[in-house]
């Protein structure tokens, strides 16, 4: 017997239980003849194939998963609580950090909800909405590429990882050009955008999507119809439509059952009803089908980005209402960042009222009429919903994010129990949870 005080054996109502900590397997001599042997394995929260800090508690008999339970909360940062102590505009900086692979979706959902509470949904300038759609669709591509990359890595397809991360870099460079940051942008603001596209951005985006389009073939050639990849994902993680509806599944998991449910089509926001694109579906209801859906969605997203570029017309990117609109456009000054010179000239030299107004709007913020709304957008992982409550003050009274990963992780037992341990990895990868969004 081991001398480790954490590794001992004791009797329970279900039989003798041995606790092992590694390197001491020799101390267990197996179950007596005629008795079942069940191994409880703790996987994660720090494990390279659990897609972040997800912890799985598995009961195994041999290689078969008898029970799988997920434990979350290891990345809980209290963002929803923090939002209650910040102005409505400052909130964007927090929500962008929730699901860190789809920041623009978090921001847009938040801003659409604030705008709905304010009743200014119809007043958002056309250009701001088109840029929001363009950023979201580019973001969908970068997010799906990470899903393929990490999913591939977890199943041993390392080249898929290098290709996926290489392609994502193209999108991240565009994000850096447009917003100044590769992640956590806080670029979409209640009422519009933080600033307009920089000079030359449209050309750079066109070049970027041309590159992506060309390289997508590599990704497809790498994994589509690849017999090893299919063996790992085909028929794995099966969940039919009934199961999906009962468990509230949305996104690629729901669409892999053949259900063409995509909020961009069914409950359009940001003018999605005016764009031409297809909703990707499969009928296999397995991990391979979800992979094919993500590939197709990236193609469709590129089409939407192209349509956005064709629609971009010069114009304002912030709502007209000066009681809501951020007073200045940011510009790069001598110190690297700052307000536009024209605005500084106005508030410092010409109009004291403009200075007071700027100060009030930035420090105090604007008031939002009391009430509650629910606003959902189709994020790369499914329905991202925001339940937002205002008490009429300058800060959110309560913001709840219905994160698709949080909800979808509930399906892990249904998809994996009875299968092999190795399939569990494919199951989690096919749900594509992002723990930053799950735990918030």
């Amino acid at each position: 017997m081991s001398t480790d005080s954490y590794a001992d054996a004791y009797d329970t109502t279900e039989g003798r239980v041995h606790t092992l900590v590694g390197g001491d397997w020799d101390s267990v001599h197996g179950a007596p003849e005629g008795q079942q042997e069940r191994v409880v394995v703790n996987m994660g929260p720090q494990h390279p194939s659990t897609h972040g800090v997800l912890r799985m508690i598995l009961e195994l008999e041999g290689e078969s998963v008898i029970e799988a339970r997920s434990a979350i909360g290891y990345l809980h940062t209290g963002i929803e609580k923090n939002l209650e102590y910040r102005s409505w505009t400052q909130g964007v900086t927090f929500v962008t950090r929730m699901d860190y692979l789809s920041p623009f979706f978090n921001e847009t959902a938040y801003c659409l909800a604030v705008e709905k509470l304010l009743g200014i949904t119809d007043q958002i300038p056309e250009r701001a909405t088109v840029i929001r759609v363009m950023l979201m669709e580019l973001n969908r591509i970068s997010s799906h590429l990470v899903c393929l990359a990490t999913g591939g890595m977890e199943l041993g397809a390392l080249t898929a990882m290098t290709i996926g991360l290489r392609e994502r870099e193209i999108v991240l460079e565009l994000f850096e050009l447009i917003t100044g940051l590769r992640m956590n942008h806080a670029f979409i603001r209640p009422g519009g955008l933080a600033q307009d596209l920089p000079a030359g951005a449209e050309q750079k985006i066109r070049e970027g999507i041309a590159k992506l389009k060309k390289n997508f073939k590599d990704t497809s050639n790498m994994l589509v119809d690849n017999s090893v990849w299919m063996a790992r994902t085909s028929g794995v993680g099966y969940l039919d439509l009934t199961g999906c509806v009962a468990l509230g599944m949305t996104g690629p998991v729901l669409r892999s059952t053949g259900m063409p449910w995509d909020l961009r089509k069914t409950q359009p926001y940001c003018g999605y009803e005016t764009y031409e694109f297809k909703v990707a579906t499969q009928t296999s209801a397995d991990a391979y089908g979800r992979f094919l859906i993500r590939l197709e969605e990236m193609d469709e997203s590129l089409k939407i980005v192209e349509q956005c570029l064709d629609r971009l017309r010069p114009g304002p990117v912030m709502v007209d209402d000066k009681k809501i609109a951020w007073p200045s456009q940011l510009a790069v000054g001598g110190d690297g960042q700052g307000n536009s010179l024209e605005h500084i000239k106005n508030i410092m030299g010409e109009s004291m009222e403009a200075l007071i107004h700027h100060f009030k709007l930035v420090t105090e913020g604007f008031q939002v009429p009391a009430g509650q709304v629910y606003q959902a957008v189709e994020s790369p992982r499914g329905e991202l919903g925001v339940h937002m409550v205002s008490d009429g003050g300058t800060r959110p009274y309560r913001v709840h994010y219905r994160d698709p990963s949080f909800n979808n992780l509930q399906a892990v037992p249904a998809m994996s129990e009875g299968g092999q341990v190795a399939d569990l990895i494919a199951v989690v990868a096919s749900i594509d949870p992002v723990m930053g969004g799950v735990d918030r």
């Binding site: 910040r86 409950q267 509650q372 709304v373 629910y374 339940h387 008490d391 800060r395 909800n407 992780l409």
Partner: protein, 238 residues
């Protein structure tokens, strides 16, 4: 389900006669406590009110859905006023405020009646209004009907002294983790939940962090000799 956008939900249709429900008071202009009032607005008292009951007609599809729900409840032998406190139509969203005694019957009807068919429970979350006596805690159940392409919110208000709400996990299994999170953050106890344990906070955590009486915490930030107070200690304007 339909492929076309939901055109029946135009903003013109929304219910216009909604009463307001007081939930608290806002005093002064800057919420400064412990120091003298320099703003001149220290005596200002405003009532905080949220949308309350909406009178019929609601507009849009809301009237028809409410009729179907009420008819079905009566058929089950439940008096409408025992099940439904009121409806709120605000910003073109329908909220059904339900008494917890009959939440399960209402939920079952919303899911199963073919004119309603809210087959997906999208989310459950809570809101804490500490000054709304007898109705301090709210559970908000967001429902989605893929069949009819509609959304509705079911709200249950309970007193802080008796924070029990029946669990809807038997009707919508997806509510499982959402109810655990609401329990974790607000202390709402969902009776009938298969394993109501904390989900985000550690098992041995004290208190329920999203309640308004739970402090945000945080420490002052010091940088180059200047100190910025913790976020909850800064002057607020709301």
């Amino acid at each position: 389900m339909t492929e076309s956008p939901n055109t029946e939900n135009s903003v013109e249709n929304i219910g216009t006669s909604t009463s307001s429900h007081p939930v608290g008071q806002r005093v002064g202009s800057f919420h400064v406590k412990g120091s003298g009032d320099t703003s001149g607005f220290g005596g200002l008292v405003q009532t905080i009110a949220i949308p309350g009951a909406t009178a019929r007609p609601f507009g849009s599809w809301f009237d028809a859905a409410a009729d179907v729900l009420e008819t079905s409840l009566v058929k089950q032998g439940i008096k409408v006023k025992d099940a439904i406190e009121h409806y709120t139509v605000d910003r073109n969203e329908l909220t059904i405020v339900v008494r917890r005694e009959n939440l399960i019957s209402v939920a079952q009807t919303l899911r199963d009646d073919e004119a309603l068919r809210f087959e997906v429970c999208v989310s459950v979350s809570g809101v804490h209004w500490p000054e709304d006596a007898g109705r301090e805690l709210r559970a908000n159940i967001e429902l989605l009907s893929m069949t009819h392409n509609r959304r509705v919110r079911v709200e249950v208000a309970v007193p802080d002294s008796d924070r029990h709400v029946p669990s809807v996990t038997a009707i919508w299994p997806s509510a499982d983790w959402h109810e655990r999170e609401t329990y974790d953050f607000f202390g709402l106890i969902f009776d009938g939940h298969p394993a109501l344990t904390r989900i985000q906070m550690p098992d041995d955590w004290d208190g329920h962090p999203q309640r308004k009486d739970y402090p945000l915490g945080g420490i002052p930030i010091e940088y180059k000799g200047a100190t910025v107070p913790a976020p909850s200690e800064r002057r607020s304007y709301s």
